[in-house]
Amino acid sequence: MSQPDLATTPDQQAPPVSRRRRASSGRVPRIVWLFLLIPLAVELAWVFWPAMNSFWLSLTRWSGVGAAEFVGFDNYANLLDDPVFRTAASNTVIWTIGFGGLSVIMGLTLAVVLNRPRRGVGLYRSAIYLPMVFSLVVTGLFWRVLYQPDGAINSTFELIGLDGVARQWLADPDTALYAVLIAAVWRQVGYIMVLYLAGLKGVDPSLEEAAAVDGANRWQRFRYVVFPQLRGVNTVIFAVTVIDSLRTFDIVWAMTRGGPYDSSQLLSTYMFQQGFTLVNLGYGSAIAVTIFLLAIGFIITYLVRATRED
């Protein structure tokens, strides 16, 4: 790497030998160290230090007041015995698969359908993307109204004669989690669609035309010609979706607070409830550490796979 700036500094008078050695050993100029060390210090202070503290807290029992009591791995042992934690963990798996699967399938379908230029297509695209401008909390409050016992959803079912289907979606432990999931997917779909629309712009149309000439039907053209070209976009969407689903918190909190009786609890909401509503900071931290390990585990596997493929 050349170092043109260095040549004009007072160091210029230094003997040529040392200059050459400096260049060959790749010594980094001080200003670069500054640019590296300051963000590193900030990262350490604001990300790693709190994360380490959270790990330490997870080994204690602390209500935020007075001294924290060291209890070793008791919190983790209690987690394993805690039925709510088990529900939250399995709900998180259901959520990740359901949220990721539904929003990707629907987003891709919409993108393919709305990719062709035709009258009013912009309007459709905007309408589908629109929910993305609301925060998840607003989405949650909006859907809460729809899900009310005499709200729009039940009225619609009754209108089309499906009275038996109508129920208290958010108050029924069998449906609460899925009702929230639908609201979250409703908001996410537009985002995924836009990403796929961008990806589809990069697809070479001549290939598809060639396949059409060869007699491939629409599904075959999509499956064997278009879809393989979307690999780059798929990678991005996969990462975004998994991260979004692991960090989901606000919409569940706004709609059900993990209820009724913990049936829609996710790891994130249970962590919040323990840590901030009940101020069980040690126990909440143990859940936070669990989430952290899951996320890290996933990201490392993913990165290893992604780099190997490259």
Binding site: V65, A68, P173
Partner: protein, 438 residues
């Protein structure tokens, strides 16, 4: 680190270091908490302390009317007060942090009883003895309020400014239309529910969707009526099992109510559940007097209540009367200013002003408030509590927010699936043990 417990000094140093800018004031604040006695016997001594310097008032009264009422009380005060209003859920979560921070708010709204005592036991609350002695603002308050506002060893740490009663609320005009009367005994009450049901009215409304704690209201009352106030207090203190024959008897009575509770309430918050009552689709609501805030203004005169019917006449009658008010942080930079503000808030004329403006139907704690101008409902509430043998507060205030969470789970599950009561009570006891052991 070889010791397993962080030392108090270490914790204070840590918390001071957390508030980077507040490092120095943190040390001052920490010193203040050790010198509580000095602050209490400051030169101002007894009586109304002089207001000195600015004070901060942290308030959880975020509903519009109580909030405006508190603002007007602050406007009428001639000291320098900064009022911060925080939504109650956040407030609840943040309260330990407020109190233990290096620069805490001076005066805070909260509840009397075990919650306040718990903070006092950790040395976080200011000793308010001056206000309760001599010509202090609370000196004339009743002994029941004094003991509710004091620590175990009798140090006052709380200033109660209003309290409210619970009861079965209904609309007299609706009862007249339906041709029914309030019930005195449990059998009459169940018969009343039956009659109303036959007329196509939901006898009881209850919003357990967003606010599952409402379900604990019936639990408290049925336990008071079936097992008595003493057993109730002991149960909430962890001295009895939720999986006992006594609690099972309570649930048997609760089960009799279930067919009469509006099932839609499972999706409602307590405020939403008032709507069927106002619209005369539901007949009764067991709730606190704060229900009047959720009533439309034009219907507020058409609300009445009766006592939860007696089940076992041999037991002393207990009623729920949660008490609200203020305490001050021991780390306050300005304890005299804090006490001056507390005296202002507790003064009879301002208690009266608050109750009138807040539209809350709360009762004043000061015996000097002229209650003749209060609504008939509030007058009736005063008599209601005067006639009772024993006072309890509410599930979470007699125990803890954490135990309340176990009750929310158990009771909402019970509402959905009353036949599963054995498993529910066993799980409840297991969850309660985790709370008490922690």
């Amino acid at each position: 680190m070889t010791t397993s417990r962080m030392s108090r000094r270490g914790f204070l140093a840590g918390s001071a270091a957390l508030g980077v800018s507040g490092l120095l004031t943190g040390c001052v604040g920490a010193g203040g908490s050790d010198d509580e006695g000095d602050a209490a016997s400051s030169p101002e001594g007894n009586g109304t302390p002089e207001s000195t310097g600015p004070v901060t008032l942290q308030s959880s009264l975020s509903d519009p009317q109580p909030r405006a009422a508190l603002e007007s009380l602050i406007d009428a005060y001639d000291g320098d007060v900064t009022l911060n209003t925080v939504a109650i859920e956040n407030y609840r979560a943040q309260l330990p942090t407020y109190l233990s921070s290096s620069n805490p708010p001076d005066v805070l709204t909260w509840y009397a009883g075990s919650v306040a005592r718990d903070y006092a036991a950790r040395g976080l609350l200011l000793d308010l003895s001056d206000l309760w002695t001599g010509d202090g603002a609370c000196a004339g308050f009743s002994d029941a309020l004094r003991s509710l506002s004091s620590t175990e060893d009798g140090t006052p740490i709380f200033v109660p400014t209003n309290y409210y009663w619970w009861g079965v609320f209904y609309r007299p005009s609706a009862f007249e239309e339906w041709g029914v009367e309030p019930a005195e005994t449990w059998d009459d009450f169940l018969a009343l529910c039956e009659t109303l049901n036959a007329q196509g009215v939901s006898p009881l409304t209850m919003g357990t969707g967003g606010t599952p704690w409402v379900a604990a209201g019936w639990f408290d009352y049925l336990n008071l009526r079936v097992n008595g106030p003493e057993y109730h207090r002991e149960l909430l203190a962890g001295q009895h099992s939720f999986d006992s024959a006594e609690v099972r008897a309570v649930m048997d009575e609760y089960a009799k109510l279930l067919p009469f509770i509006d099932p839609n309430g499972r999706s409602y918050s307590w405020q939403d559940a008032v709507t069927p009552l106002v619209q005369k689709r539901a007949a009764m609501y067991l709730i606190g007097a704060f229900i009047t805030q959720a009533f439309p203004e034009e219907d507020v005169d058409d609300v009445d209540f009766f006592r939860v019917p007696i089940i076992d006449p041999s037991l002393p009658v207990g009623e729920e009367a949660p008490t609200d008010g203020y305490f001050a942080a021991s780390g306050s930079q300005n304890p005299d200013g804090a006490k001056a503000l507390l005296s202002h808030l507790a003064a009879p004329e301002y208690q009266q002003q608050f109750i009138e403006l807040a539209g809350s139907s709360n009762l004043p704690t000061s015996p000097d408030v002229d209650t003749s101008g209060f609504s008939p409902l509030v007058q009736k509430g005063i008599t209601h509590l005067e006639e009772t043998d024993e006072i309890t507060q509410f599930f979470n205030r007699d125990s803890s927010d954490e135990l309340q969470a176990t009750a929310d789970t158990a009771l909402t599950r019970f509402l959905d699936d009353p036949d599963d009561v054995d498993a529910i009570l066993a799980d409840w006891q297991a969850a309660a043990e985790r709370v008490f052991d922690a």
